[in-house]
Each structure stands twice: as C-alpha cells, then as structure tokens.
C-alpha cells in the first residue's frame, strides 16, 4: 500500500486482519474518504505551509511500512535510568514490546498496543481516538489536512496509555518509536489521563543511520479535569528522516499540562505541539528546544486554543542553528470570544551560531476576546561577546565557554521541567551536534561590548 494511493479495499482488509471492531474500521474509511478530496499541502497556497516547501522537503510516494522488523532497537532514555517504568515500543509500524510494572498494572495503569486496546478498552478508545483530529466533525481537528487524514485512515499500529482517575504515576511512561525500514511510517499514540490523575510521558523517536523514511505521526493526549500531564518528546532521528508530527493535547477543567519537544535529528521535522484548553482554569506550558545542524530543516508550530475562560498558556521555544540550516517558528495562540480572563504569552528565541543558518520566527495571536492579557515576542541573535568575555576572564578557554553559553541558552527551558534524565539527554543530544561543529566558526555579537566601554562617552 502506497501512502499516495490508499485504497478502501486494502484498508478494509487490513482492519479485518487486525480484528478491529467495526466502529474503528468505519472511522478509518471515513478518514480515507476525506483524503480523496484532499490534495497534499501546497506551500504556495496553504498559510501554515508557507514557510516550508512541502514538495521539496517531504516525499509521499512511499510504501507504508507495517511491521516485520527484526532489528534490535537502541536503549531508551528510561532504559538508562534506574527506574521501574512502563514502556512500549513501536518498531517499523508495529508494537514489538510492552512492559508495565506489576504494581502499576494492579493500580489500573494500561499501556497497550492500540489494536488490542480498541477491543479490550473499547469504550475509552472509541470515545477518544481521532476526536482531536478528523473523527469529530465539530472538533478543532475537523479541518486537518491530508497529512493527518492519511494517518487517521491508515495508521498501522500504535500505543494506548490509560491512567485511571486519581492514579499518580510517579515514574515516566516511555513510548519509543524506532525506524529501521525505508518507506512511510504511520504511528499513532493515544493517551488518556482521567480526572485528578498524574502522568509523564516520554515519547522518543530514533532510527538507524542512513534510512530514507517518512514518519507521519499523530499523538493525541486527553487530560481530564484536574489531571496533571507532562509530555516530553525527543526527535533524535538520523539525518535523513522526514517527520510530520501532530502532538495534540486536550486540557479539561483545571488540568495542568506541560509539554517539551527536543528536536535535534531528522532531515525535515515539522512538529505541531498543540493544546486545546477546553475547560476553565486549564493551564498549559508548551516548551521546545531545537538544534539545527547543516542541512536540517525544522518547522515548529505550537498552537494553543483558548476555548474556555480563565485558562492560561505560556509558550517558550528556543533554538540554535549552525551550518546551512533552517528553522521556522510559527507559534499560534487563538483566544475564543468566550475565553474571558485568558492569560497567554508566547516567545521564541533563536541563536545563530554560524554564518549561513537561517531562522524564521512568527509568533502569532488571534484574539476574539477583549478581557484577556496577552504577550508575544521573538528574538534572534548571536552569542553575546560580553558573556564570552566574562567566562574567559575566569580562565575558561574560549571553546568551553562557548559550549557553556549554548547549554545555558537551553537550560533556561530545560530546567523548567524536573524530569529524570531529560535535561541530560537533551544536552547530550545538543552536545553531539556541537562536538561535530567547528567552534572557532561560531559568530559572536560584539556590538554589546560598547556598553562596557562607557568611559569613552564620559
């Protein structure tokens, strides 16, 4: 089955072969019918695609990969920590491994492949799956483009996480998506955190080197009333992978959501960390760090929708660039006319390390309601020569000082979440990129040095 030529027969056959319930097959086919009327994104016409040329950065003429891997995947972040954690692994479009510590299973935590969950936990899955994308005709995802509709129609396998009401899961739950086969990968992840429950999800993306693959992914997370959810995603692909990912959270009344995306790998990554604030008092903190190296193109599109009163959001994305790389930040905050008392802020900072890198940044606000506080900002700059001088004046060699400053730039974001192993993993991924670079080519902005030379003016 080619991603560009899905057929009703093939989708039906696959759904039946997997033993999916009829409601699920019907949803797939409904999504498939939508794709028939949809063209692939056109960057000349589609506002949200304007900054990244779809046809040049993504190839869709690929066979869908549906299991069959025999490679042994690399260790995950959680594997490296001394923790009893629940984990699931999707390799080449099929779930290959699920483990849940006994005590958590006894308390009702479910981590399972999505196909079995559609049978064993039909009620929860049916109520949630696809509601943030095209399955809910009145939802905010009803108008999603073909890149999402094809996942709705043809996702191969995925992971379901269910945290029952009031269960507080102390250790992070790991979901690992690993790619070893060329082609199109369509993973699907559904997380439902019931009222007053707490959970942290680590979603890690890895691949073997030199793999020509497209990963078109949909992640749906539902945080019910008073739930506390943290979602950390790591895009640690090899340099050739193309990644489209909608990572969408729905936050109900008084839910607290924090998301962090760490993007260092992939040829082209278009990440959409979204959050719909549908209940009063909900709160979301979307965070992102990214480090784009020579040849990489990252398009970050966080989107927050304030659909209920007195909710708050505070978006912060920071990226560094070196070599001939391109980053796009297109942040969006929408405030519905009924969302009185909204507080929102949205910021993006880019650090240009070497000549030839290019950062596009547009924090965008769409406000229908007057009774709110809103801010947004964007800053692009180079390493500040004053910082460099200060560190060097304490004996720290230039290259080490540059490294400390770049880490510091990211630590400001990473230290906001106190999650085991995450800061180290993110900094290690960034360090890998810096190590490969020629630190002597880092550009330093010395304009600010003039401030120090104030005796001149006196």
């Amino acid at each position: 089955m080619n991603l560009d030529a899905l057929t009703e027969d093939e989708l039906t056959r696959r759904s039946d072969a997997a033993g999916e319930p009829s409601w699920l097959r019907d949803r797939r086919l409904a999504a498939f019918k939508r794709t028939l009327d949809q063209a692939w994104p056109d960057s000349r016409k589609d506002e949200f695609w304007r900054s990244t040329p779809f046809d040049r950065r993504f190839s869709i003429d690929r066979e869908v990969v549906d299991g069959g891997a025999d490679a042994s995947p690399p260790a995950t972040l959680l594997d490296g920590l001394d923790l009893e954690a629940a984990q699931a692994r999707v390799v080449d479009g099929a779930v290959t491994e699920v483990s849940v510590p006994t005590d958590l299973a006894e308390q009702g935590l479910v981590v399972s492949d999505l196909a079995s969950a559609a049978r064993d936990h039909a009620e929860v899955v049916r109520r949630a799956l696809g509601t943030l994308t095209t399955s809910d005709p009145d939802g905010t995802g009803a108008g999603e483009d073909r890149t999402v509709a094809v996942n709705d129609a043809a996702w191969t396998d995925g992971v379901f996480v269910h945290v029952p009401a009031e269960l507080e899961v102390a250790t992070p739950i790991g979901v690992h998506v690993h790619v070893t086969e060329p082609g199109a990968h369509l993973p699907r992840i559904l997380v439902v955190v019931e009222r007053h429950a707490r959970a942290t999800i680590y979603l890690e993306h890895t691949s073997v080197d030199g793999i020509d693959a497209l990963v078109d992914e949909v992640v749906e997370v539902i945080a019910h009333d008073g739930a506390e959810v943290q979602l950390a995603t790591l895009q640690s692909w090899a340099d050739e992978v193309q990644h489209l990912s909608l990572q969408k959270v729905q936050a109900h009344r008084d839910a607290t959501v924090r998301t962090l995306s760490v993007t260092t790998g992939g040829a082209t990554v278009r990440l959409r960390p979204e959050c719909d604030l549908v209940g009063p008092g909900a709160e979301v903190r979307p965070l992102g760090v990214y480090f784009a190296d020579d040849g990489q193109w990252f398009d970050l599109q966080p989107y927050v929708r304030h659909l209920a009163p007195h909710a708050s959001s505070d978006v912060l994305f920071k990226g560094a660039l070196q070599g001939r790389s391109q980053t796009v930040f297109r942040g969006n905050v929408f405030v519905h006319r009924d969302a009185v008392g909204t507080a929102t802020d949205e910021n993006n900072k880019s650090l240009i390390l070497t000549e030839g890198a290019h950062a596009d940044s547009t924090p965008f606000l769409e406000i229908e309601c007057a009774d709110i506080t809103a801010g947004h900002g964007s800053a692009t700059g180079q390493i500040d020569a004053r910082h460099l001088f200060y560190l060097q004046s304490r004996g720290i060699p230039r290259e080490e000082a540059l490294r400390l400053i770049v880490y510091g730039f990211f630590r400001e974001v990473l230290t906001e979440l106190d999650l085991p192993g995450l800061e180290d993993a993110a900094l290690a991924a960034i360090e890998g990129r810096i190590e490969a670079a020629d630190l002597s080519s880092f550009q330093v902005n010395d304009a600010a040095l003039r401030d120090l030379a104030e005796e001149v003016e006196a």
């Binding site: 001088f389 560190l391 004046s393 304490r394 400001e412 010395d446 030379a453």
Partner: protein, 248 residues
C-alpha cells in the same frame, strides 16, 4: 623588576584614545589604589590588563612576571593568575553558578578538583561573604542585586586564588554594611602572594583597605602618585584642584 609592569600604555576604544601613556608597577604583597574622576581611563586600564576585546592596545607594554600579556587571550591571562573584579558583572543566562565556578576553578588550577572538595570550599567562602546558599541554584549573576554581584566577584577571587586582583569600582553602589563585608573579603585575600590594584572614584573603600600607594589618573595619564595620604588630600581638595596643580 616588578611583578606587574605597565609601560607607556596607550589604549583605544572605537578609535578614540583613552589611555595616553600609563606607566605603573605593582609587586605581589602590595596594594595600590588608582583613583580618578569618571572618564579618566581607570576602567580602561583594568579591562586592558584583563584583555577585553573592545580595548585596543596601540602602544606600550603590560608585563606580568616577565610575560607580555598583550597578545594573550583573557582566559590565558586568568590562568596566569590575573583576576578582574568587574564594575558591571554581566548576567549569563542559564549557566549554572556552581558549574561555572567549578569549570573556572579547574581551568585556573589546572587540575580536576573533586566535587565534594570544591563544594565544601565554595560553601565556606559563601559563608565568609554572607552569600546565601540559595544562590547555588541560580544562574551566573542572574537576578542578583548590585551588591550581590560585587560580593560574587570577590567570592570568585577567593576561589580562584589569583596573584593579581584588579578591583574595578568594587565599592560603587554598595551601602556601608555591604562595603565592609566586601572589604573584609578583600583583606582576607591579601598576603605576600597577591598584588591588589583597587580602582575607585571615592576614598571610602580606602578606610577599610589601606593601600601602600595611591595614584591619581586624569585624561588617560597618571598625574599624581603618593602614599595613603594622597587619598586624604583628594578627599579634601577634590579632583579639580589636583588636576589644576598637575597642569600648573
């Protein structure tokens, strides 16, 4: 030959000549005060010694224990024992204070000081200078008040154990209590292995740290030199009078 020898030093910033031929000697074990009005070039001299990239040395020499400093990078100078306590320490966002200090101590000492030993030294010095432990969680200078920044500069000097400490207006912006704490901190560092160059606009700090010599700068030159009594004279007569005397 003095440990620090500055000879006929001329320095430009953005093409403007600020130092117009400065000659100064400092021996380890001695403390000298360099005074002068705003714009006289005191801070320029401090930055030139530390190797600040915005200050171009156009003539003369700075020699530290026989080594010409002018072509050395700021970090190379620091590793030779040169320390500058800055007038306006910058905030370095996200760089953890503890990590920064440990990296600096390792770089300057040339050895990998064990974490426990380093932390116990750090805690001791912090206590001496009345710096709260909560600072360990912060980033370098971030959110510090003016007085806290100055204390942190002296804390760094205590940890790095330099042989030449240049204190650039470390007293400015401090209230009397903070000034006393900082001055005591400096006095603790003084000894036969440390030369101190105190740069100040006011005589106030010299009541707590007694210099061996006082030099007065104006318009990029040293116009008067003497013992501690020169500071008292300045206090009474002011810079204008001294300038007039130097010209006349």
């Amino acid at each position: 030959m003095a440990d620090l020898e500055i000879r006929d030093l001329t320095v430009e910033v953005d093409g403007a000549e600020i130092l117009r031929g400065v000659t100064l000697d400092l021996e380890k074990g001695k403390t000298i005060a360099l005074m002068g009005p705003n714009g006289s070039g005191k801070s320029t001299l401090a930055y030139a010694i530390a190797g600040h990239p915005a200050y171009d040395v156009t003539g003369g020499t700075i020699t530290w224990q026989g080594t010409d400093l002018i072509d050395l990078t700021p970090d190379e100078r620091a590793r030779l024992g040169v320390f500058l306590a800055m007038q306006y320490p910058v905030e370095v966002p996200g760089v953890s204070l503890t990590n920064f200090l440990r990296t600096a101590v390792n770089a300057v000492s040339g050895e990998d000081v064990p974490v426990r030993e380093f932390m116990s030294r750090l805690r001791t010095e912090m206590q001496e200078l009345g710096v709260d432990e909560s600072f360990l969680q912060r980033s370098v200078n971030e959110g510090f008040s003016g007085g806290e920044k100055k204390r942190f500069e002296i804390l760094q000097a205590a940890l790095l154990r330099p042989q030449l400490a240049v204190l650039d207006e470390t007293d400015s912006g401090l209230d009397v209590d903070a000034l006393k704490i900082v001055a005591e901190g400096v006095n603790r560092l003084r000894g036969p292995e440390l030369g101190v160059l105190i740069i100040t606009h006011y005589t106030r700090i010299l009541r707590y740290i007694t210099p061996d010599e006082v030099h007065v700068m104006s318009a990029g030159r040293i116009i008067a030199s003497g013992g501690p009594e020169l500071a008292d004279e300045l206090e009474e007569r002011g810079y204008e009078d001294l300038k007039a005397a130097a010209i006349g």
